[in-house]
C-alpha cells in the first residue's frame, strides 16, 4: 500500500524527512477521524457494527471514490473539475448505447465507455491548457454540455441492462467465492492502487505535483506544461468513465438525469483527505479516507435515525474542519 501514501517529493519545502512526516501526519489525522467516527457510531447504534453494514458503507463509497480519485489528480495540479458528476451520467448513458443499443461485446463496450470519459477529460484539458479558459469555467461548461447530452442521447429515458446480467455483476457480483463482498469494492481498490502508483512512481504523477506547486518554474525547467496538463485532465476523465460504468452496473440501468452534485461530493472527499485546493499536495489514500468519511457519516447518521436535515449540517461541519486544518498546515509551511 506504500504507493498510496503521500510521496516524499515536496518541491517547495525541499523534501527530506520533515516533509514526509508532515504528509503522514495529515493523513493520520484524516484516518484518526475516520476511526473516531466509526467508534462513535459503533457505540451509538447496535446496527452499525456488522459485516453487512461495513460492506454497505464500502459499496456506497465506490462511485464517489472513483470520481474523487480522478479529481485528486486535477486538484493537485491546482485545477478543479466540475464536470465529473454529469459527465459520469453521460458515460453511463454511453455505456448503455455501446452495450445495449449497439450490442457490442461487453469488454469492448466497457473500454469504449472509459475512453469516452477520457475524451471528455481531453476536451477539458485542451480548453484549459491551450485556450486558457479557467478550469472552473471550462469544466462548468462541460458539466452543462454533459448534462444535456446525457438526456439527448438517451432520449431522457433510462437505458436498462436487463439483457446483460454480466454487466450488473461488475458491481453487484461476488468474485471472492463464499464471501459477501461486492465486486464494485474490489474495482475501487484495484483502481486506487493503480492511481496511487501512477501518482507517486511515474513521470505523470511527478509533473502533476510539479505543475500544482509552481507552474511557471515547471515550465522554465523545460517541461511542456500544456501537453502534460492536457494529459492529466484526459487521464482524470478515465475515472469519470469508470464511475459511469460502476453506477449503471449497480443500478442495472443508465439514469441520464442523475449525477448533478456528485462533483461536489468528490471534491469534498478530496479536500477532507488532505489534498490542498491550491495544488501541489495530496494523495490517493487521503482521498479514499475522505470518501469513506463521507459515506460512513451518511450511513451512520441514517442508522442512528438522525433527521435528514441534520445530516447535511454535520457533513458541512466536517468539511469546514478538514479545510481549516489544511489552512493551519499551510500557515505553518
Amino acid at each position: 500500500m506504500t504507493a498510496l501514501e503521500t510521496p516524499p517529493r515536496e518541491s517547495v519545502a525541499g523534501g527530506g524527512f520533515a516533509a514526509v512526516a508532515k504528509g503522514r501526519l495529515q493523513q493520520l489525522l484524516a484516518f484518526a477521524s475516520l476511526i473516531a467516527i466509526f467508534a462513535f457510531f459503533s457505540v451509538a447504534s447496535p446496527f452499525f457494527f456488522t459485516y453487512g453494514n461495513f460492506t454497505a458503507i464500502l459499496f456506497s463509497t465506490v462511485v464517489i471514490g472513483t470520481l474523487a480519485i480522478g479529481t485528486t489528480f486535477v486538484i493537485i495540479t491546482g485545477g478543479i473539475d466540475l464536470a465529473v458528476g454529469t459527465g459520469m451520467a453521460l458515460c453511463a448513458v454511453m455505456s448503455g448505447v455501446f452495450i445495449v443499443n449497439m450490442d457490442l461485446p461487453l469488454v469492448v463496450g466497457l473500454v469504449a465507455t472509459v475512453l469516452f470519459g477520457g475524451m471528455m477529460g481531453l476536451i477539458n484539458g485542451i480548453n484549459i491548457a491551450l485556450l486558457k479558459i479557467p478550469p472552473f469555467i471550462a469544466t462548468l461548461a462541460m458539466m452543462l454540455v454533459a448534462e444535456g447530452l446525457a438526456l439527448v442521447v438517451s432520449d431522457s429515458a433510462p437505458i436498462y441492462f436487463s439483457e446483460e446480467p454480466s454487466y450488473t455483476k461488475i458491481s453487484t457480483g461476488n468474485l471472492i467465492p463464499g464471501v459477501e463482498f461486492p465486486n464494485a469494492v474490489l474495482v475501487l481498490i484495484v483502481v486506487a492502487v493503480i492511481a496511487g502508483v501512477l501518482l507517486t512512481k511515474t513521470v505523470l504523477g511527478r509533473y502533476t505535483y510539479s505543475i500544482g506547486s509552481n507552474e511557471e518554474a515547471t515550465a522554465l525547467s523545460g517541461i511542456d506544461v500544456r501537453k502534460w496538463k492536457i494529459a492529466i485532465y484526459a487521464f482524470a476523465g478515465l475515472f469519470t468513465g469508470l464511475a459511469g460504468i460502476m453506477i449503471s452496473a449497480r443500478l442495472g440501468s443508465a439514469q441520464p438525469a442523475t449525477g448533478m452534485g456528485y462533483e461536489l461530493q468528490a471534491i469534498a472527499a478530496v479536500v477532507i483527505g488532505g489534498t490542498s485546493l491550491s495544488g501541489g499536495k495530496g494523495s490517493i489514500l487521503g482521498t479514499l479516507i475522505g470518501a469513506l468519511i463521507i459515506s460512513t457519516l451518511n450511513n451512520g447518521l441514517q442508522i442512528m435515525s438522525i433527521p435528514q436535515e441534520w445530516q447535511n449540517v454535520i457533513l458541512g461541519c466536517v468539511i469546514l474542519v478538514a479545510v481549516y486544518t489544511d489552512i493551519l498546515r499551510k500557515k505553518e509551511a
Binding site: S156, M304, S305, I306, I314
Partner: protein, 327 residues
Amino acid sequence: MKIRKAGAIMAGAALALSLTACGEDGGNAGGGGGGGNGEQPYIAIVSKGFQHQFWQAVKNGAEEEAEKQGARVTFVGPPTESDVEEQINMLTNDLAKSPAAIGFAALDSQSAEPLLQQAKSQNIPVIAFDSGVDSDVPVTTVSTDNKAAAAEAAKHMSELVGGKGKVALVVHDQTSKSGTDRRDGFMEWMEQNAPDIEVLEPQYGGGDQLESANITKSIISANPDLKGIYAANEGSAIGVIKGVEESGKTGLKLVGFDSGKAQVDAIRDGSMAGAVTQDPVNMGRELVIAAMKAIDGEELPKSIDTGFKWYDKSNIDDAEIKAVLYE
C-alpha cells in the same frame, strides 16, 4: 509543529462535539434514536423526495398516524427525483436497521429489485407508496388513483363549459405513469360522458412553466373557439395560467391539478376555475396504517387509494381542503 497539533486536536474535538450534539438532538426528534428493539414497531420510510412540500405533507401524515398507533417512523428521501443511487443507499441503510416494515416509493423499480428481494428474505414487509413499484415484493401500493382524479377534473370541466365545445390538455409528460394516467383518465371520461365535447390532441410541456405557457399560447391561436384547458400537474397549470394571461384571451375555463401558491392564487382570483389535488397527508396516514396491518400479518388489498379532492373558489378555505393544499 505545535500549531499543527493544536489544529488536529481542535478538529477532532469539533467533530466529536458536532456529532454528539446533533446525535442527541436527532435522537430526541427521531423518538428514541437508533434502537429498534423497543416495544414500538419501527417503520422505515424511503421516499422519492424530502424537502418538497408534497413529501413533507406525506411525512407529516405518516408521523401523525404513527403517534396515534404507537409506532415509530423515520422518513428519508434523496434531494432530487433523479438521485437513484442515493435512494438505493438510503434503502440499504434502513434495511440494516431491521425495521418491522418498510414504506418505499421507488424512483426506479428495477434498480431497487435486489434490495426488495433482500427485504423479502429478511421477512420485512414492503409497502409501496406514491407510485407503483414494479415488483411482486410489496404487499400493497398506497397511492392516488390518478385516473379517477383526472376523471373528476373532466367532469368539472364538462360542467364548466356546458357540455360542449373544444377542450385542450397540457400534460407534463407521456412517459411517466402519473402523466399517462392523468391524461387518459380525463380523455376517457370525456369520451364516455360528454359526446359534444371535442378533446384536442394532448400537448406535453415537461411540467415546465415556460414551455407549458408557450404551448398554451399556440393552442389558443390555433383554436379561436377553444372553451377550456386542463393542466395535468402544478408546473403545467402555472404555465397554462401564464399563457392564457399573455394571450389576452378571456372566458376560457381552466382546470388544474395539484396545488402550489401560484395555482391557489389563480383559483382565488378566478383566473382558474378549480383543480383536483392529491391528498399527501392521507397518503402518509394510509401508508402507516397499511404497514401496521402488514406487521400484524393481516391481508391487504393490492392497492389502496388515498383519495383526491376537487377544490375551487367556494371551498378553498374549508379546513379539510386547506389541509391538503400546499403553497
